[in-house]
């Protein structure tokens, strides 16, 4: 194995084949990242970028707790969203892969349709539904509930609802795929070994879904820290999250260096959390390697 890797670095043909991907990664990922990093050492004055090469922006970032409160709130919302999505997605995916095998394709098409409908549209749809004079209150009032029972629009709860709604399919599909890939005889083997349905689920199905749960979690977490639509439309912009803060810094305040710094902080923290969980949950073992 080591020899094979050694060879790759010297083999001109292999290096040539890697060229397109190297070029793409460099121009579209690495270069912008480096440019963003360079930007954080500059300043703005009178809405103009000044090439100063100092640490003003960074001292600003680290001295104002406001930014970190928003970051903390963002991370909390993203992690809560991950937990809710996984808890909701698991039974859906399990049912899809086992009980509703006959109409599995129809359900998948419906989920996909909902998924590819523009998120802005769906998010505003929720406003109409949750509004004081919206569909939900109308419905509940007619069912005999007190008026205005649904009154959480423009709170964090509404933001969370929107996030879960928009991100749930990622968890459903990743978990569905891992359940669908489980060899049916593994479950039979667990029963045969003396496991109850619950035990077979706990000892075999769930651990084997771990890669799917993990993939869904990472996707939702990374997308969740980047949401700006839901807090703005459903949360009413009252408690902004990082993505909105970054947008404002770039667009409204025209402070590009600060925006760049906040972007990097968000990225580094998010990646750090993913790596931390990877290590904590022992996801390396989930690859069932040697």
């Amino acid at each position: 194995m080591d020899q094979a890797i050694d060879r790759r670095w010297r083999d001109p043909e292999l290096l040539f084949k890697a060229l397109p991907s190297v070029v793409l990664q460099t121009t579209c990922f690495l270069a912008p990242l480096v440019m963003t990093f360079i930007l954080t050492f500059q300043r703005t004055r009178d809405f103009q970028l000044r090439w100063t090469w100092d640490l003003t922006v960074w001292t600003d970032v680290f001295s104002k707790p406001h930014y970190w409160t928003i970051l903390g709130h963002t991370l909390f919302m993203a992690i809560a969203c991950v937990v809710i999505c996984i808890v909701l997605a698991f039974p859906i995916a399990y049912g899809l892969a086992t009980r509703f095998k006959a109409i599995e394709n129809e359900i998948k098409i419906l989920i996909t349709f909902a998924f590819i409908t523009d998120a802005t549209l769906k998010t505003f749809g929720w406003v109409l539904f949750l509004d004081k004079k919206g569909a939900a209150n109308y419905l509940f009032a007619h069912l005999g509930f007190p008026p205005d029972i649904v009154a959480f629009l423009f709170t964090d709860w509404a933001t969370m609802l929107g996030m879960v709604y928009n991100l749930l399919p990622f968890a459903i599909f990743t978990i569905y795929l891992s359940i669908d890939n489980i060899d049916r005889s593994l479950i039979l083997a667990a029963y045969d070994a003396g496991a109850s349905k619950f035990r077979a689920h706990w000892e075999v199905t769930l651990p084997l879904c771990k890669p799917g749960i993990w993939a869904g979690s990472v996707l939702i977490f990374l997308l969740g820290v980047g949401v700006f639509l839901e807090p703005k439309v459903l949360g009413g912009g009252k408690s902004p999250m990082s993505a909105e803060l970054i947008r404002q810094t770039f667009e409204t305040r025209v402070n590009w260096p600060l925006g760049a710094a906040l972007t990097l902080v968000l990225m580094v923290v998010a990646v750090f959390i993913v790596l931390l969980f990877t290590r904590m949950l022992g996801m390396k073992r989930a690859g069932f390697g040697t």
Partner: protein
Amino acid sequence: MNSSPILDIQDVQKAYGTFQALKGVSLSVRQGEFIALVGPSGCGKTTLLKQIAGFEDPSSGAIRIEGQDMAGIPAAHRPTSMVFQRLALFPHMTVAENIGFPLKLRKTPPDEIKARVNEMIALMELKPIYLERFPKALSGGEQQRVALARSMISSPKLLLLDEPLSALDVKLKKVLQAELKRLHRSVGVTFVHVTHDLEEAMMLADRICVMRGGRILQLGEPADIYYRPADPFVAGFIGETNLLPINVKARDAGGITYESAEITDTTTTVPANLVADDVKSGPALMMVRPELFRRLRDGETADCAIDATVSEIFVKGGTVQYRARDTMGRDLAIEIQGTSQLPMQPGEQVRLGWDKKDIWVLKPEDV
């Protein structure tokens, strides 16, 4: 040894929708026996195994293990253990965790599990260093041993094997067949082995149960199945054979009297011990195994003889196989020991003889 059957299957039927997978199967297995369920795919052998294991419930009929009716008892609570076709080793557990899993479910103390796992490892001749590895890191044969160890650790009364050797290459298959035989002898557990490989069944089993279309065609010792097949299907399934049509003129307690257009014979009678019970007057088949033929030179005689033209030769190591065409245009399979001399050449007109003591007369399929 207990004389009452450990496994008693009575008129078990199983239908999936309109498809009748088992059409009334009855089978009784003795304590410590090695029984093989054999048949082509779709014959119901795996379905039967699933009913015994408790993964499915029969549509009708009863399955008793040690006299206890298994109806409504889930797989987890049956004294059976299955070795799956694709082994079904848990990929997220190490070899030790896999083998110890049945005991872990029975809330056995960890020390005892460890001791029992080590016992199983020794029994299956697996190296202890494998214990902490994942199944994927093991070779096919080693995985097979792990699967067997996992099935044996809970000391089942019945070990059910669902074609576990079918995916292995020929050489490894032979090794593991010997291993299975050894294991069966050493632990004394009753084995029910499903296979489509009759040679494997003949090698391993005390009794063979040949199935087709959801029914048992024949149940008997390997020699019974080989030398005294119940019908042409069993005869052909066991290996290449020659079924020569004869016409039974009379049947009585002493045997049959027959006539045949092509067979030249010294007597036209066959004693009762070489005739299947259900053969009556009318068309019947005389089974002659390929190895029974010998070439008759001029002046040589045998109980029976037939004229044929050699069409092909296959040298198969220790034996030579021939194809020949008889006067009725029927293909004959012939197997002769020894390659040093090739007594027949393609195109050659030969007279083939055989002794009557080795034949078997059976009923044709459609009568």
